[in-house]
Subunit: 327 residues, 2 copies
């Protein structure tokens, strides 16, 4: 099943829609839930009704369906209670720490790194990324994310996997220029992690077929930068799987229904797959040539993220964002 | 004006109530807004109607009013989009860093420390604090907080002061035993900052009278621990005022209506005022006697927080929480 949130003047949560498998048609489902955030709170009650609409829609039988224009859709979940962003690709951690000459944590392979990110107002998937100062070093980070129902504190990684209800893509916007000073303060990221964007559509595990196994999505994340190929790293290379990330987040708190957990920047040891953020490319340039050639984003630069299933079909729709200078 | 959120089986947001100045009576106001979170989104539209009910209630003229039982109230704002917790009392920072032998940030007096805390489900003000492991080192932190309407990115500290709509008390629960390892990872607090509680009632600035000036609440925060006096440090001693904290939070993002900004643990240089967290007392014991006598909280320990205005009236109601061992 695929779900989206139509932009709405009435609610910052948007309007919940069921979206066809081919992403061509959609139908509003206010009779089931006003928005996806509320639908997540009663997922077990809502799922069957949503699946029925999805089945009808795919067969061309759903009343009130309309043609999808992705510009009309917000991030699949426009706002929520918790965005816990992990960093489950060890190679990415090694590269970015090398870049800022920071030591690797002793618990690199045993305890996931995780911070709490902005989620009160995700950017829309085609919304411009505001840049107040080019010195902030705007970067994108391509990630896979999951959305949970309510998760009780102390859940095990295995139990946690059962709380994954939906998958999304995430462009975790990062301000590299602000990170060193912010982390030096000891409290972690805040200003350096502004609003991110999710893909327009969130999908259930069955839409990923065989590609979803062992708590990981084994598909490449296609990233284009300024209209050119930038990366196709496989998201299956997560060191920690999503169940482990959820269990980490829930060690000392319950997780509200609608919690988004991010994988961290998708990254593979094999450089031929490209990258999912500029910071990695800059570090690889430094290692290989002693010189950084790729600047961070400036006004007008664009990033596009998509993921295709094994049949070559677009799973989540498209994140396509341009940087815009603002005051 | 004073507002509260009555617990409700229908909504995790509770039901918005106007509460009398003496905290003795309240009235539900669903005709104005379903809950405080939604009321904050249209504060300029709702404020006058809420003030009218408040005036009637204080005069004993509000239809449908009922006697307040604080146990029936949730945290004033039961859940929201962002809890940005500052650390604006420099003396507190000095003591806790001394305690964990961590260096002081170079920007101690120029850039506020701030992290993003759990806010998808605040504990109720009289809800037990769950403790999975006594080794987690459960501590309370008494804070003053503010609630904003929508704040645009890039707001100045002066402009930011105009976005303060409500004040609350906060018990920022901290797990001291988890902090050193978590901060060593470099990503800041996550597991070490579980769900906190707000006071049952949120109040507008006029309820603080002369005590609110220059972006600070100049009143003592009364903290009792296990039924005995623990602290009465004055919250006016913030180095950074709330406008500066809001501006810091909004440097690279818009802040959603309903954002809660915490002052950090209220702390005064003068030890005779006592403390607002156990970590400070433990550090003072170390400095004065070379030995820590006060343990962190264990099951059954209780903390109470209240603030009285210059007339001796309870402003926010009472936070009263007991630690409970859980699996």
């Amino acid at each position: 099943m695929k779900l989206g949130s139509l932009k709405s003047k009435e609610s910052l949560d948007g309007v919940l829609c069921v979206v066809s498998r081919d992403l061509k048609t959609a139908v509003k489902v206010p009779q089931i839930a006003a928005n996806l955030r509320e639908a997540m709170e009663k997922w077990s009650e809502n799922q069957a009704a949503l699946e029925k609409v999805y089945s009808d829609l795919n067969e061309g039988k759903a009343a009130g369906s309309f043609a999808v224009n992705e510009q009309d859709f917000h991030s699949a979940l426009p706002r929520t209670w918790l965005f816990a962003d992990g960093s489950a690709f060890i190679y990415h951690i090694k590269l970015v720490r090398m870049a800022r000459k920071a030591p690797l944590p002793e618990t690199l392979t045993t305890v996931p790194l995780m911070y709490q990110g902005e989620c009160g107002q995700f950017l829309a998937p085609t919304e411009e990324i505001p840049q107040r100062d080019v010195a902030h070093g705007t970067d994108f980070e391509g990630e896979v994310g999951i959305i949970t129902d309510f998760v009780p504190m102390g859940v095990t990684p295995d139990q946690a996997l059962k709380h994954i209800k939906l998958f999304v893509l995430i462009n975790d916007v990062s301000l590299r220029g602000l990170i060193p000073e912010e982390l030096a303060g000891g409290f972690g990221f805040f200003q350096s992690k502004p609003a991110s964007a999710l893909s327009p559509f969130a999908v259930t595990a069955d839409e990923l077929g065989e590609a979803y196994k062992e708590g990981r999505v084994h598909l490449p994340l296609n990233v284009d930068y300024n209209g050119k190929f930038f990366g196709k790293a496989n998201a299956g290379a997560m060191h920690f799987h999503f169940g482990q990330l959820i269990a980490h987040a829930a060690k000392t708190r319950n997780l509200a229904a609608g919690t988004v957990i991010g994988s961290g920047t998708v990254s593979n040891d094999d450089h031929s797959t490209g990258s999912s953020c500029l910071a990695e490319v800059r570090m690889i340039e430094t290692i290989e040539t002693g010189e950084i050639k790729t600047p961070f984003m400036k006004a007008g630069d664009t990033v596009e993220m998509k993921m295709f299933n094994e049949k070559g079909e677009n799973v989540f729709g498209r994140i396509f964002q341009k940087v815009k200078a603002v005051q």
